[in-house]
Symmetry: none
Subunit: 251 residues, 2 copies
């Protein structure tokens, strides 16, 4: 439960117990023991709870794996190809068979074009958790790993036109947007995330998010950058891909 | 401050005041008022504090700036040099004049060595928000921007020895640690953050955090990588550096 601002003066005024922990130069740390009325905890009780309830609240451990290009070719790519996770919902959007009324912007070029739509997670009622997704029209780019200098025009279009469309429609300027790709992505059709900078969306941390501006610069410096560099993958303990890395002795 | 697991039975056993808020089927919510000894708050005091310290803790709109190497040389570097934000607390740690008993690991080499200490923000009572900082012994490296292939041995030491020390002391393996640098950092003496992967520490998002493993790979591919590439800076609206970029027409 976060602090409520109006309670802080009370917290400072009351004679709560204070224990010094550490002092260095102008910095010191204390343990503060506030009275019960200032330590309210929001408590949810589920009773009786099923196994499914328990699992929902259990934390899934995440592990980092450092995937070299060889790992990608020998472990990740065969795994992706063996899965048949449907991309039909993506194609429905690209072909206007679904969500056509939700499209915020489209560049129709089959090679360098894309469609920008609000993410499912965003209800569009407030800008604090603004979340949009750019889906590319071409269907032969699975992820960051496939990108080369050839894709620079496509990626530049997404960054420039996407920022312009969000500024125009929602009034949020490019300097207040986090524009990034996930690696690993949750589906293997190239897409780019646009989120409000102040919104710490799950998956915006450095172990998974790659800023599109950085991707552009890396590809401009070295067209084969993403076929040379090892990339970190954050994998949940129950993900099959983690088991593949373990089998290959890479964990 | 997160809950400590071993305190939960105490919290449930003690007769803390409990107020029912809502009941629906098997779900109910309560306000719980725990006794002071179970409501410890970790408190940091900075006294006397400068304007800059105050600003650091105020909530502020953040803007992204794309800093090229020329921007760094013409705007950022002169700004850093004009500031005289004291690094005395860092030197106190390196010279064992403060926090000597808190050192988790040290490699004493003056060029390739470092000291690993718990961050102020971590109370060391639970691993959920584990947070340590590696401070390098050498004093001539301000930030990511200064790093070249020359620093690879130092950076490799930090990654390997840091992970080993955390595994040994706290039982957290390297695959469960986020090891990264900030750009911009909050102080210009090279340091590396070690946080629990499950802990979404402020500053772990892609616009500010650079994984040390990525930094190592980039420098191995190109010794001058961080003198070539533009880097994103997330700057709060009231930061003087943002004003400098604005004055230079870079925003």
């Amino acid at each position: 439960t976060p602090f409520q601002e109006e309670k802080i003066p009370e917290l400072l005024r009351k004679h709560a117990r204070l224990e010094l922990q550490m002092r260095n130069d102008i910095y010191s740390t204390y343990h503060l023991y506030p009275p019960p009325e200032l330590s309210e905890i929001k408590t949810t009780v589920v009773y009786p709870a099923t196994e499914k309830h328990l699992r929902k609240y259990l934390r899934q451990e995440v592990h980092l794996v450092r995937e070299t290009w060889e790992d990608y070719r020998n472990i990740t790519l065969p795994f992706i190809q063996s899965q048949s996770f449907s991309l039909q919902w993506v194609y429905n959007i690209l072909e206007k068979k679904a969500e056509a009324d939700r499209i915020i912007h489209e560049n129709p070029d089959p090679r360098d074009g894309f469609v920008l739509v609000p993410d499912f997670k965003w209800n569009q009622s407030q800008l604090d958790d603004l979340y949009l997704i750019a889906l590319v029209h071409r269907r032969d780019v699975k992820s960051l790993r496939d990108l080369t200098g050839e894709h620079l025009p496509l990626l530049r279009n997404i960054l420039r036109e996407g920022q312009e469309a969000v500024a125009e429609r929602f009034g949020v300027p490019g300097s207040r947007l986090r524009v990034y790709l996930h690696y690993q992505p949750s589906y293997y059709h190239l897409h780019v995330h646009f989120t409000a900078l102040g919104y710490e969306a799950a998956g915006s941390a450095a172990e998974r998010a790659h800023l599109l501006a950085d991707v552009l610069d890396n590809l401009a410096l070295d067209s084969r950058y993403y076929q040379r560099r090892a990339l970190t993958c954050a994998l949940r303990a129950d993900e099959p891909l983690l088991a593949k890395f373990r089998e290959a002795g890479r964990l």
